[in-house]
């Protein structure tokens, strides 16, 4: 796994997401706090991927609705989606309230983590 610290966030800025490598080697993903903070309350989120799906870095994973605005969030790394946050679906306000904690979006089992992390910046 190299020297990735599990508490450190890596940012995929163009796709509005952060990635955090967990002790088990999987990667938890959420919306970058600075991005979501500039919007009023998050009203609805639609995941466009499902558990078991493969994603590449930059693939769309969800659309977040804020009034008449739709913001797209992207997978910061490639791999297989192993978990989608059910709480984010039912209580989307959590995404803004706790974007790096309870408001996470998905967990990815990475396929080429070291390579993908080169395209991210440390948060």
């Amino acid at each position: 796994m190299g020297d990735f610290m599990s508490s450190e966030l890596y940012l995929w800025k163009k796709g509005n997401t952060w990635a955090r490598v967990e002790p088990d080697g999987n990667v938890r993903v959420g919306v970058i706090p600075d991005v979501i903070r500039k919007y009023p309350k998050v009203a609805v989120v639609r995941f466009v991927v499902s558990e078991g799906a493969s994603v590449k870095q930059g693939d769309k994973i969800a659309s977040i609705g804020v009034g008449k605005t739709t913001i797209t969030v992207e997978a910061p790394i490639s791999g297989t989606i192993i978990n989608i946050n059910a709480k984010a679906k039912t209580t989307p306000a959590i995404i803004k309230k706790d974007p790096t904690g309870e408001g996470w979006l998905i967990v990815i089992k990475p396929s080429k983590l070291e390579e993908d992390l080169k395209n991210l910046v440390k948060g």
Binding site: K14, R46, G67, T69, T70, A93
Partner: protein, 355 residues
């Protein structure tokens, strides 16, 4: 230098697939900021990204009338993109910029006002005293003449809306599932009071090519930029071929996970008169609200502004928003105080979720 993609006359699926494509391309720096006018051919109804198709439109009626239907990438509500003389009565306008084009775009509310300035200028060039009305309308003396929505992806922003040159309210009431009891002269009047068109304001409709030239000039003047004619690049054309497959799919149109939507008409007799509150609630949001009845309110257009202000608001913020609006606008409703109005609207929303 900005790019103008001219007038794109196409089916709704092509228009909206290309909206995603151009937003991505501008966001990634592969294309400059861009503007475009779109004409829906065949005429179409479009629904917002998060809406439930069958809750919003009469699908059978649309087929019968030869009107297309498509889900947009932007949020917002259902829009009829045609008028009495066809889709050139209600063309769409589009402005694409990167999110880092200027600082104000980082704040979403401010970005709506800022990117709507060329549209306000467009109407003023036609001699119409238009203004931006928060959160996302352009209005003339309280009546809406253009609605606005945004889509953001890969660092790009699509800021888009409709130019209302002429409008067919009866067609709208036939094809859209509106929160009204029935289609009646009264219902038609309620909607007519809240909308206006270029034809109504100045007595004529410019041609589509005149509209494009005026739109270009308005953008150049407002943002102090030069707009030159261009076309989609090879990367955009390839991306469009792939993206179109999704937009033409049944899954896209009908939605993978439709929203929970509730519609209700809440009628209450009050000391101020009979009040009807029509609400449409989607998930945790008040999608739309219409307040009608035989009450007296001053200033008269304040009720339209309140409706516009509350649209797309999270439900748990409604009470504070209504109080704030009434306080800052110094609204008076005969026979009703602020607390009473707050309770009526909140009860209307609560009772819709119970239905």
């Amino acid at each position: 230098m900005w790019r103008c993609l001219g007038i794109y006359r196409a089916p709704a699926s092509h228009i909206h697939a290309s909206q995603e494509v151009i937003t991505r391309s501008v966001g990634k720096g592969l294309s400059p900021p861009t503007i475009r006018i779109v004409v829906y051919d065949p005429p179409a109804v479009t629904i917002g990204y998060f809406q439930n198709l069958e809750e919003e439109v009469n699908v059978d009626k649309l087929k019968e009338l030869g009107v297309d239907v498509m889900r947009r990438p932007t949020g917002g509500g259902t829009v009829l993109m045609t008028g009495p003389e066809g889709p050139e009565d209600a063309p769409g306008w589009e402005i694409y910029v990167p999110e880092d084009w200027c600082d104000v775009l980082k704040d979403i509310d401010k970005s709506y006002e800022y990117l709507s300035r060329p549209i306000v200028e467009f109407f003023r060039m036609l001699g119409i005293e238009a203004n931006f009305r928060p959160k996302n309308d352009i209005e003339v003396r309280g009546k809406k003449i253009s609605g606005v929505g945004q889509y953001r992806e890969s660092g790009g922003i699509l800021h888009t809306g409709t130019f209302l040159f002429d409008f067919d309210i009866k067609l709208m009431l036939k094809v859209l599932k509106m929160p009204i009891e029935k289609i009646s002269d009264k219902a038609i009047k309620s909607f007519e009071e809240r909308l206006t068109t270029v034809k109504r304001e100045v007595g004529f409709k410019p041609s589509i090519s005149e509209i494009l030239e005026l739109f270009k000039k308005a953008v150049e003047k407002t943002f102090n930029v030069k707009v030159v004619d261009g076309s989609l690049n090879d990367e955009e054309i390839k991306d469009l071929e792939k993206t179109l497959i999704r937009y033409k799919s049944r899954e896209w149109l009908y939605g993978i996970r439709p929203s929970q939507e509730y519609t209700n008409i809440y009628v209450k007799k009050t000391p101020g008169g009979l009040i009807r509150i029509h609400v449409k609630v989607m998930d945790n949001m008040l999608e739309s609200i219409l307040i009608t009845g035989d009450f007296f309110i001053y200033p008269k257009t304040a009720i339209y502004d309140l409706e516009a202000y509350l649209k797309w608001s999270p439900i748990d913020e409604l009470e504070n928003k209504i109080k704030e609006f009434i306080k800052t606008r110094k609204i008076k409703i005969l026979g009703l105080n602020t607390q009473h109005l707050v309770k009526l609207i909140c009860d209307a929303v609560k009772s819709s979720k119970g239905s």
